[in-house]
Symmetry: C2
Subunit: 387 residues, 2 copies
Amino acid sequence: MMFSKGEYMERLQQVKIEMEQRGLDALFISDPANMNYLTGYDGWSFYVPQMVVVFLEEEEPYWFGRAQDVNGARATSWLSPCHLLSYGDEYVHSKVKHPMDVLSIWVNQHKKKIKRAGVEMEAYYFSPRALKCLESNCDWITFVDAHLLVNEVRMIKSDREIMYMKKAGKIAELAMQAGCDAVKEGARVCDVAAAISHAQLSGTADFGGDYPAIVPLLPAGVLTYAPHITWTDEKIKSGDPVIIELAGCYGRYHAPLARTITAGKPGKVFKNLSTAVIEGIETVLDQVKPGLKCEEVEQMWQDTIARHGYCKDSRIGYSIGVNYPPDWGEHTASLRPGDQTILKPNMTFHLIPGIWLEELGVEISESFVVTTNGCELLSDFPRYSFL
Amino acid sequence: MMFSKGEYMERLQQVKIEMEQRGLDALFISDPANMNYLTGYDGWSFYVPQMVVVFLEEEEPYWFGRAQDVNGARATSWLSPCHLLSYGDEYVHSKVKHPMDVLSIWVNQHKKKIKRAGVEMEAYYFSPRALKCLESNCDWITFVDAHLLVNEVRMIKSDREIMYMKKAGKIAELAMQAGCDAVKEGARVCDVAAAISHAQLSGTADFGGDYPAIVPLLPAGVLTYAPHITWTDEKIKSGDPVIIELAGCYGRYHAPLARTITAGKPGKVFKNLSTAVIEGIETVLDQVKPGLKCEEVEQMWQDTIARHGYCKDSRIGYSIGVNYPPDWGEHTASLRPGDQTILKPNMTFHLIPGIWLEELGVEISESFVVTTNGCELLSDFPRYSFL
């Protein structure tokens, strides 16, 4: 187990305080990161319906998933065997049956007192059909939207979580180095991806890497204008910019890191854009401290790049931590106008202020933890490769 | 572009025939594989809401996504620029706004004639909140469940799709070889994962690899009883079984492949179990041909392993093709009791009949394409490493 049972119980306690405030006697959790956060459960099983259910009046939550995955829950979670509920394989990708029918029948038999339950209405792995199934089978329960309830509890990390994120940051450094070493005129972008992925999974001699929630993003050349392109097997040309966005991952905890480099001598537009982005990052990192609002952090960035004649209309960062594909972001605080979240010690962010012009884009990022009087980076990697 | 515009138009035509039969004048598609199948769009952007919308009366569908990803849609899809609709970054992971508001307003302004629309109620990336948003903003439209409508069109592959899957099969061979070479007494499982991932992404000298929809699954030792465990950084012990389930991926097309091997001499239970699984696979592959039902294929397997004293209560395979995380399965036909789907030429399946006992599990798989009179494997890799 990644954490002591005490730490899991503390997390649950915080979730229950929030449930009580919202008048929820049950919480149906589909987000695999939230499932992991409360129970330790870890497996690539989120492609079939599964849940963790927390009842306000019970100490221990229930895991519900495919029968085939009960052994995985036994191996990775702290839950007692009688709290592992399952459905048979005939429910998997069936056109006529839904796994939530099985959960509903169990709720019907054992939890008839539940009146008001939260569900994660915007989670990736909670479908409209799953909701309808719960609502129609448990029609005496009022289901309300509790999306992000657990995510918000996740925002402030424990010291052990920070330790894992620093390990992830170390892996990110190694992966970025592998990527930068592989970017050469004539190299195929897919081989850069392969070198990065190898470093991500192998980790260090002391600890191995876990799979990040997002594969390496490697737009090269003109494709740098499209930030979520993965890679091609085209060869890198001299002077081509290559964006490398990746994360180190340890025990599902992430430390993302992005750099933009060139094979050979960079052009003038690239240098100017990089200089502006780096100055913006440095301004932010110099001033970040507890008590600031997320929108104030973004404003520092805007003011800096405005002096270089640029503006950027997308958010420049977001809260990070434990996660699963397709995203390492926590979906809570964002560094952007209007976000009034106040920074507190042990919050962790990915500061990723890319600028994309029509002909090319530059992304340079840092992951940081808010400390008592400033911030600390999770990785140590030069931002200035082109100088 | 991976396919000619003509091939995309043919796919659309088939989708429209099905829409007409179901009385749908619009289809809102959230599944990234379906979006790719109809438009070519490819990017790691499915962590934010996005859609392809097909209107029965219009030749060309619309792509709808984040403004930041429009360039990616320009680069990878065949759609005209005026068919790329977008929303601003203030809608991304916002607590008060939803991207589907923007799409709804556009539908309201331009598509007021639409009466009945299909949505994918069980797609990974279509949330209850997204549905509610469409339903409340476009309240004159009846939204009905059209989950799998496009997936079913995808089942029979074109010759070009088969060609891509054979390339994926070649990558799977190389990745499996890298994995088998790395499994040694004292090696860390994460380093086996790293070697596999490197081979998957690097591909061959002639063509690079794409990221598979699932990371390598590498349960080792006693963890082989839990099929969806990814990996640890523990060292492999002598005699430990290691399951290697992976896929080669080319242009988002998959060829999955699983083997179970041991570091050093395998034990008796392992050998017996492997022998039964292999015999079951061979029986199936010898007899698969067009005209058989999926459930009949499964029955052949059950009959064979029953002679060894085993039975398995989960499905032994499923339809495969183009896909994105978290799953490479198409969610249409499954090789299991009750599935009446009739095999036709150019259907493609992953036959993965694992058996998991309490102390260990064995998974051995093949991906095959149904031919005019039998089947052809996508990869060529020995099943008998322990003999």
